[in-house]
Every structure is written in C-alpha cells, then in structure tokens.
Symmetry: C2
Subunit: 210 residues, 2 copies
DNA sequence: AAGGCTGGATAGTTGAACTATCCACTAGGA
DNA sequence: TCCTAGTGGATAGTTCAACTATCCAGCCTT
C-alpha cells in the first residue's frame, strides 16, 4: 500500500501522515526504492489508533509518542510498559512543592491509596493529579469528604477490575497488550464521562419538574 | 480590592486577569474613577473557578464564557441554564452526517438512552460524543457490547444521583447552582478518571506478579 | 518520454491562551 | 504641590501544539 492509499483508507490527509512519520508516531514504511515505500495493514491500524487517541481522547501527540517508544523498546517488561503508557496519559500538574496545603493533601492521598490496599507506585503521576484536584476543591469551598472519595475509588476499582483489565490479553504479544490498555483507558474513560453528564442532565430534569 | 491585590491573592498575573476581563469571563470591577476600579470577593471567587476549570478540567475559555453568559442572562430558567452549562462542557465531534456506520451507532445510542429511561434532550451533545466513541471502538476492532455499556451507564447514574446532583442547591440562588454543578461535573470527573487509572495500575501489578 | 506520485526537507498556518507594551491619568505619599 | 507607582484600556506580540503547504529530485507506469 502506498501513502495515498493509506490516506484514503484512513481519511487522514497525506501531509498529516508525513507529519506523524516525522514525529515517530507511525513507523517508516518498507523502502522499496529511493522514492517509494510500502505500507501495510499495521500502519493503517496504527493510524486509526493515533486518530482515536487524538480525537476522542485528546491525548497530546507527545504522549502518544512516549507510549509508542515504550512499546518499541524490547527491553522493558510488560508491567513497566503498561506503567509508562499510563503515566503518559496523565496530565502532570506542576508540583507546588513548598505549599503547606498541598503537602497535607498529598499525604491524605497517599494514606487513602494505602488504606484501599492498592498497589500503586509512589511515583505515579495520578497521586499528584488527585492532590491537585483535592486542593482545588478545597480552595473552591467544596472540600471532598473521605466518604465520597472512597465511593469514587471503589467504583473506579470495580470498573477497572471487572470490565477493563479483564479484557487485556497479558499472554499475547506485548504491543497488543499496551494497545488494548490504552484503548480501554481512553475510550471507556470518555464513554463513562459522557454517561455521567447524560445522567446528570436526566436527574436535573427529574428534580426540576417536581 | 484593586487588580494587583486580586493578582497576588489568586496567583494569576495581572495581564491574564485583564485578558479574562476582556473575554468576559470576569465581570468588570466597580469603576470608582477614570483610572480605578474596585474588585470584591466575588471576583476572587470567580477567578478561582476559572483557574480550576482551566487547569484541572482543561475546559476551553470559550466554553467557560458560554456558561457565564447563561448564568448572567436572567431570563433562562434553572434547568435550561444547567443544560447550557452541560452542553458547554461537551467536546462536540463533527457530525459525520452521511455515514452509514455513524447513523447506525447513533440509533443504538438513542435506543440505549431510551431503554435506560433517562430524560435527556434529543439535542444533547453527549449523544454525538457517545456515538463517536462507539464508532471509534468498532473501527479499532474492539466494539463495545451492550452489556458493558449498560454497566457503565448504570454506574454513572448511581454516582450522578447519589453523590453529585444531591449536592446541588436547587433552592438557592441560580449562580450558585450552576457553579456547583460545573465544579461537581469537572472536578469529580477528573477525580474519577484518576482513580480509574490508579486502579488499573494496581490491577496490572497484581496480575503480573502472579 | 512524459506526467503523476513519492519520499524527504523546509517553511508557513491556525487557534488557543496568554504576555508585553504603551498611554493617559490619577491617587497618595514626600 | 509635585512626583511616581499603579491603573484601566487598547493593541500588538509570543508560545505551543497540530497541522498544512510547497518544493524538489527521482522513479514508475503508459
């Protein structure tokens, strides 16, 4: 398959495909001569993944590249690779290192994760993201209660356990595992977010018509 | 309070505050002379809300303005106002109007919402967002099953019903209701997203150590 | 042998969210 | 009273991300 066919099949314009090639999101095609390269179904598949992450997940190009680089480095084991993917999907807030309020919130987050018995790296960016969210809620005058957080955490775990990690083929090839993980995280994350807003609208209608 | 104090209290630089004033995100201060205006605690509060939506929620400035305009238009009733806020928080995908696959997915979405008994406007952008997500999942070779979607939908409803809409003071002033809704939607949405990723990491660790 | 693609390189565009500069003016202290 | 830092308002510039456009030499088909 040549680049123009890749373009028509995927709906992505040629200059954009070239851009993804430059950025290392898409592997080079197999060079057949100085001015010709051959692309396969793997390229088409990768291209669809890129567009899905960009359009539905709003994942930045740089993060996508990070994931792809982790997959292509054969030395990393599967768990580390999945970790890298997860960390790339996070939106790191600036650390606010020397802030009293921040430090206390961060300790609360660490305690919560420990209490839940979750096995999460102390370096996981999610800890910082959660800290930022809690600090922000407090500053807005609506601090989250421990009880609320526990409900959210357990709900998240039940979805992750029963419907997401269960889908991931850990015994298959490594690239398929990461790809599945990323798709699950991003797409079902989006789906859940939309469902939540729809549910809120429905509740609002019910309450305000009474 | 003058603009410089607003800046130091909120941590937002003066030129940025001026930008928010220009963009209509922040109401003008009370003019006390040709070159002086007075800002109150409401401005500080608003500024914190703006930063929360931008930094934690990644809500675009244009969407924030839409919400604010709806609140300030006294003619709209509360339900419409909350609707406007919700719709502003959505990320409208382009409609793909004349696409067979899209149309079928859209019908499935409409059927699902009807089956759930949810009261959602047929114009709600969430319907399009969900359609896009399902089409994308199918194109990636991992179509969502009805059973999975139902679980996500019911889980979302239970959080929305018990922990989000229950918090909203429908009987108070209208601006407080919208503000609370937006904060709940965005901040707890973020919190849930982070919990989900942390839960996935924890599950991954558990599975791969066995 | 000619016209259309191709890969590769380089430069330009768009949109969002700021950021910087300028200016006339004025409040508030020396 | 005068001076100066700060103010509001306007306008223009910056940065970053994600493209998009143009150019060019070379091949491949017809």
């Amino acid at each position: 398959m040549r680049i123009s066919q890749l373009s028509t099949e995927s709906g992505v314009p040629i200059p954009t495909i070239k851009y993804y090639l430059r950025e290392g999101l898409l592997p080079q095609g197999e060079q057949t001569s100085a001015t010709r390269a051959e692309y396969g179904p793997a390229h088409l598949r990768r291209l669809r993944l890129i567009r899905a992450l960009l359009e539905v997940g709003r994942v930045p190009v740089a993060a996508i590249r990070t994931v792809i680089e982790a997959v292509e480095d054969e030395r990393t084991d599967v768990h580390t690779m999945l970790g890298t993917a997860h960390y790339a999907l996070a939106s790191r807030p600036e650390p606010h290192a020397d802030d009293e309020e921040w430090t206390r919130a961060r300790e609360a987050v660490d305690r919560l994760i420990a209490d839940l018995g979750w096995r999460v790296s102390p370096l996981a960016p999610g800890r910082d993201e959660l800290t930022q969210t809690l600090v922000t809620l407090a500053r807005l005058g609506m601090p989250a209660t421990d009880a609320d957080l526990l409900v959210y955490a357990r709900t998240a775990m039940s979805l992750a356990h029963d419907h997401e990690m269960a889908k991931i083929p850990f015994d298959g090839p490594r690239d398929v595992a990461v790809e599945t993980l990323v798709i699950c995280t991003v797409m079902y994350g989006k789906a859940f977010d939309v469902f939540r807003r729809l549910a809120q609208e429905s509740e609002s209608a019910r309450i305000l018509e009474a």
